[in-house]
Amino acid sequence: MIKVSNLTKKYGSNLAVDNISFEIEKGKIYGFLGPNGAGKSTTMNIITGCLAQSEGTVMIDGHDVFDEPTAAKKLIGYLPEIPPLYTDMSPKEYLTFVAEAKGIKSSEIGPEVERVMERTAITGVSSRLIRNLSKGYRQRVGIAMALLGDPEIIILDEPTVGLDPRQIIEIRELIKTLGEDHTVILSSHILSEIQEVCEQVIIISHGRVVANDTIENICLMGNQHPVLHIIAKCTPDAALAIVDEYEEVTHYAITECPDGTELELTLMPGSDITDQLFFAFAGAGIAIRYLSNRVSLEEIYLKLTETTFDGGEEDEPVITADESSDIETEEEYTPMFTGAEEKEDEDDSDL
């Protein structure tokens, strides 16, 4: 559906997107992930024809965005990071204008505008000026705009930023239903959102694609070295005494926390001692407050984009056996994630 080959974008001497290639298949929901300034918005802007690339090509269903912009743009509905709304219009007027500009037949414009307004639940505010609408409603008007004309590809750049929790859930549901008959690309900083909504994830770091796979496969990458998180109500020494019994533990990090002791264990490939450990702690009369062997997208993301935080190793980070030694440093960057999430409404690019 979308084929991006050797795409490069330079701003002066600054390399925003560095020779990336990927393909997007029809009828799937793709998550586009990456730290601030990784090149997500730039890539999306190039795909939608808002920005010209320095090198490389983008083909939309066989149409080159650069050579046949009109044909390519007809297939895409795009919501940029900041919804491009004319605030002196009402949602209905605005959507009618966009429908006309998209070349929808004049007899179909009315019903089409009604359809997208119903789908995004903005019918109630359709005649108020956009200027007077709250951020959540504006965001929805933007999404409605992207849906106009029922384009095959829908690209949403951080669509849930600034919405209240209920609206976020509604928009997620909307995106899920859109994914049934559209190709959707969704960029977000909220990893749980990507994990919940998307089937396939593309992670970009430093202007490069560092992962492009299904969520299951990406999480499996981490499972080569299973990690166990435990919070137990005891002293670190007591916990260590139990953990030491197991040969499968190749590495561990122990910290004291308000609930007792927090352990992060790296296991030998293919081993699982979750249950054994649970009973071992229980047998020693220690209450376990938290126990998890699930590798979340969060951790994979942090590993893959790690170099960005450190300020730049050039090699693509790949999870290998050597990296188990990095586990101890994980405490250093875990808090950075929370920081990153809080900063999610900050622009990663002002294009």
Binding site: A52, K73, P80, I82, K102
Partner: protein, 290 residues
Amino acid sequence: MTAIYKRELRSYFGGMIAYIVIALMLAFVGFVSAIFNFFGGIPFFEYVFAEGYVVMAMIIAISLLTMRSFADEKKERTDQLLYSLPLDMKSIVMGKYLAMLTVYLIPMLIMCLYPLVLSLFGNINFLQTYSSILAQVLLGACLISIGMFLSSLTETQVIAAVMTIGTFLAVYFMPTIAATFFPETAKASFICFIFLIGVVALIVYALTKNLYAAFGTALVLEVVNLVIYLVNKDIYAGAFPDMLDKISLFNRFGEFVNGSFDLTAIIYYLSVIGVFVFLTIQSLEKKRYS
């Protein structure tokens, strides 16, 4: 294009701008016409357009009209919508240009009634009057294209307006300044052309970011300049003020008021419109590359 055109018109009439522009033009033309034609008893409505007050009102009105055309799109980030819609840049620019032209045409059409009213009181040369109104429309169309281009260069309406008013005033006073300050000698013209070529080279550099192109253009033009000066000094006598006089948009208009239908002026106006519409398209295309 029609979608953009309709949206722009709705936006102009939804806010104050269109009404201010129409009122400004009508008020000043009506005021001066009352003094000239009615109290003064002069049966030439076209003289009104050549009057300084009316020119100033027009300069301000058109600056107000064009200032937000593209500057505002960038500020509100709605340019991203225009770029991502299946429209080519030409139809976006033309849609906006025609919408501004429409707003400007409204007071001009109303003014077409004035000669008819005047004809009740005396003899009017309708041909001369209406050809002057046509020239005035074309002059306004030129100014709108220039204002639109300047608006596409900046992100702030106010800066766009200031740049536009400054440019229009410079164009308006250019022939006067040239006639007053530049001696009519060949040497003076030669020196002025040297500087003018420097400015051209700077513009070439700004557009292409290519030093060789800029230097090349400058070198070729300076050599031509020098050769003409050495071979035939007589052409250069008074050439620079003459040139400024010829390219002045406002002076060309004077020909119509004086009763001659100047076809070259009409072609000149249409070319200026074409050039600035083209430059606006280029300026927006360039944004996608930066």
